[in-house]
């Protein structure tokens, strides 16, 4: 992994600027992604973390232009100098699969069940690299070997149902890296797999990045997954980025109460990973026709009146320009501690969430 300092000087391969995606529904517009910006240097690995429903998949799919036709997307996505938001379908097809590839959450359903896996790999090789059948076949076998599939020459004739979940995800990875893309979007690539397989797959992805200088966006609901494998982490909630920092820094210090909750929810060996947070009450709701205000306020122990009617802007920490967060009463600051103490004394936050009353307001903070 390259250090972040080095990366700043390198060329930015992907720029996402103020990207918003919403879905018109009969009940109002669902703002799934709300003004997200993201910059990725080549070879860099960024983790996007957030509970299920926080807009991670919609963000990745908006970058890939894979959202349903009903979705409305605003903002700019630039890849290697090309504005992806305005590419024609034909230009786009030369980028998807060749320069930007994607791996999906569920390996059981993301392979075509009635097509041999070899064919599913060779089809992009033939399309993008113009390989002939024999060369494509040879390359597919190499790729399967590279992702750790035993007996690759025999396996290319297998159908997906003949492989286990872990093996299928390896096939998906082989499919994604077939044309040596410069950017890989991995949307919860291991969520559907068991813990030991998870680690193998994540290590494989990290190795591929460092070997080929491929940039990667690794999406997960589990901060533990990104800990040792990413250069930078972006925490999302309610379609917005609530905190982003170089990974090593985030694990040392964090400002947003939601990040704190995610950190305390990192699964240990004896505690399996869950897609919903146990540490904080409530669950993310669909963000329908949102009014200004912090999206996290209904679940935040610190929420004050200001939080419910004003959007907290994403701003850098006073002492670290690379560490940004969007919170009026951050963890580890005096005004943050004061807000938490005040809410504990009355037993509710400004958004009406009930919480245990603590007479002096100084209980062990849940989120520190």
């Amino acid at each position: 992994m390259t250090s972040t300092r080095e990366l700043w000087s390198q060329d930015i391969i992907l720029s996402v600027d103020d990207l918003s995606t919403w879905f018109p529904t009969p009940f109002g517009a669902v703002h799934a992604v709300d003004g997200v910006s993201l910059h990725l240097a080549s070879g860099e690995i960024v983790g996007i973390v957030g509970e299920s429903g926080s807009g991670k998949s919609v963000l990745a799919r908006s970058i890939m232009k894979l959202t349903p036709e009903s979705a409305i997307t605003r903002g700019e996505v630039t890849f290697a100098g090309r504005a992806l938001t305005t590419v024609s379908p034909a230009e786009g097809r030369a980028i998807w699969g060749k320069e930007i590839a994607m791996i999906f959450q569920n390996p059981m359903t993301s392979l075509n069940p009635v097509m041999k896996i070899g064919k599913q790999i060779t089809e992009s090789l033939k399309l993008h690299l113009r390989l002939n059948t024999a060369d494509a076949r040879r390359r597919a076998i190499e790729l399967l070997a590279l992702v750790g599939i035993p007996e690759p020459a025999a396996r290319i004739k297998a159908y997906p149902y003949e492989l286990s979940g872990g093996m299928r995800q390896r096939v998906c990875i082989a499919m994604a890296i077939a044309c040596a893309p410069r950017l890989l979007l991995a949307d919860e690539p291991t969520t559907a797999l068991d813990v030991t397989i998870q680690r193998q797959i994540l290590d494989l992805l990290a190795d591929l990045c460092s070997d080929t200088h491929m940039a990667m966006i690794l999406i997960t609901h589990d901060l533990g997954v990104v800990a040792r494998r990413t250069d930078r982490v972006m925490v999302m909630y309610g379609g917005r980025v609530v905190e982003t920092a170089p990974t090593v820094k985030l694990f040392v210090r964090h400002f947003h109460p939601y990040t704190a909750a995610l950190l305390s929810a990192i699964p240990r060996l004896h505690r399996p990973s869950h897609t919903r947070l146990a540490a904080i009450p409530g669950r993310p709701i669909d963000i329908i026709d949102p009014k200004p205000g912090c999206r996290f306020a209904p679940r935040c122990e610190r929420a004050q009146p200001r939080c419910t009617n004003e959007d907290p802007p994403l701003t850098p920490a006073s002492d670290d320009a690379a560490h940004l967060f969007a919170c009026f009463y951050p963890v580890g600051t005096s005004q943050g501690d004061e807000a938490l103490r005040a809410n504990r004394l009355v037993g509710r936050n400004a958004a009406g969430m009930a919480m245990p009353v603590v007479s002096n307001g100084l209980a062990e903070p849940l989120d520190a």
Binding site: K98, M102, S110, V114
Partner: protein, 316 residues
């Protein structure tokens, strides 16, 4: 697989026995006497009686049915009263006409329904989808006895493109043969075009929601290869079932179409046989049709295993 085939075979035999028994019984119960059809209305009671003896019609129903079965087991379908030829040779003369009609109908229907169904599914409620639904809804509501006069009026009487009736063997003159079969094929394919399109459309709509379609799009494949290489095959189960089962319906409609266009096929054969109470011929044609039908059903079943490799693993 061996046990599967054996079970299928027993099943087929039972179905065929039931069909043949029901046909024979119905023929026995229908009023009318083949002797008059053969000898004419003025036949004397003595002549009728001796003909009955000659044909074995004086014996009870179950004896005649048993006889017919044992002959069938030896591959003998009997001799037509009307044509004085073996039933099997009559069938083999008529079969190529009907087979050509039905095979061409199925091919035409699939050639039209596959792109229509797939492209309708691509945008539900879009212009292709709504246009297709509109046109095919006209097709389903036009059975041959309505569509044939309409087609004849347009293509024969108004535009003089095709001949109205008659038949030329393919071997004698391929061009003339095709000229004579075009209108019957069009008339016969209206219903399957509509039914196949609807079946394929709804399955494809479901398939296009699948994750693997998203993976295919993420690979940068063109819409066409996504639709036809990735979505079509997993979406064609209903279509295959329907195409296989529609054979029965098609043979039924072919009877009317052949009759209206005076094509010398199985349909015309059975209509003339029924008209003159030609019992062996009716029995033979019905039996033959039932065999074709049952064999096709089994073929569809086997085709499934090709379409969905997962089924090959399952114990049948």
């Amino acid at each position: 697989m061996g046990r599967y085939v054996a079970r299928k075979l027993i099943h087929m035999v039972v179905v065929l026995l039931l069909v043949s028994f029901a046909t024979s019984l119905m023929l026995d119960l229908t009023p009318g006497d083949p002797a008059y059809a053969i000898l004419g209305d003025q036949a004397t009671p003595a002549a009728v009686k001796s003909l009955h003896q000659e044909l074995g019609l004086d014996r009870p129903f179950y004896v005649r049915y048993g006889d017919w079965l044992s002959n069938l087991a030896r591959g003998d379908l009997g001799t037509s009263y009307e044509y004085k030829q073996s039933v099997s040779s009559l069938i083999s003369q008529a079969l190529p006409v009907t087979a050509e009609l039905i095979v061409l109908t199925l091919l035409l229907a699939l050639a039209i329904a596959v792109p229509l169904g797939v492209y309708s599914a691509r945008r539900v409620g879009g212009i292709v989808d709504r246009g297709t639904t509109f046109v095919t809804s006209i097709f389903v509501s036009a059975p041959p006895f309505i569509s044939v006069p309409f087609l004849v009026f347009l293509f024969v009487l108004t535009w003089h493109i095709f001949p109205a009736t008659g038949w030329v063997k393919f071997g004698d003159s391929p061009m003339d043969n095709l000229q004579h079969i075009v209108l019957p094929v069009i008339a016969l394919s209206l219903w399957p075009v509509a039914a196949f399109t609807a079946a394929l459309r709804s399955d494809t709509v479901a398939t296009l929601q699948e994750d693997f379609i998203l993976s295919a799009r993420a690979k940068g494949l063109s819409t066409r290869s996504i639709l036809f290489r990735h979505a079509l095959r997993p979406s064609s189960f209903s279509l295959m079932t329907l195409a296989g089962l529609s054979l029965g319906t098609l043979i039924g409609s072919a009877v009317i179409v052949e009759y209206l266009f005076a094509l010398p096929g199985i349909g015309s054969l059975i209509i003339s046989a029924i008209n003159v109470h030609d019992i062996p011929l009716v029995q033979g044609v019905v039996m033959f049709t039932a065999v074709v039908y049952v064999v096709m059903n089994t073929a569809v079943d086997i085709l499934y295993r090709y379409l969905d490799p997962r089924l090959r693993m399952q114990k049948a």
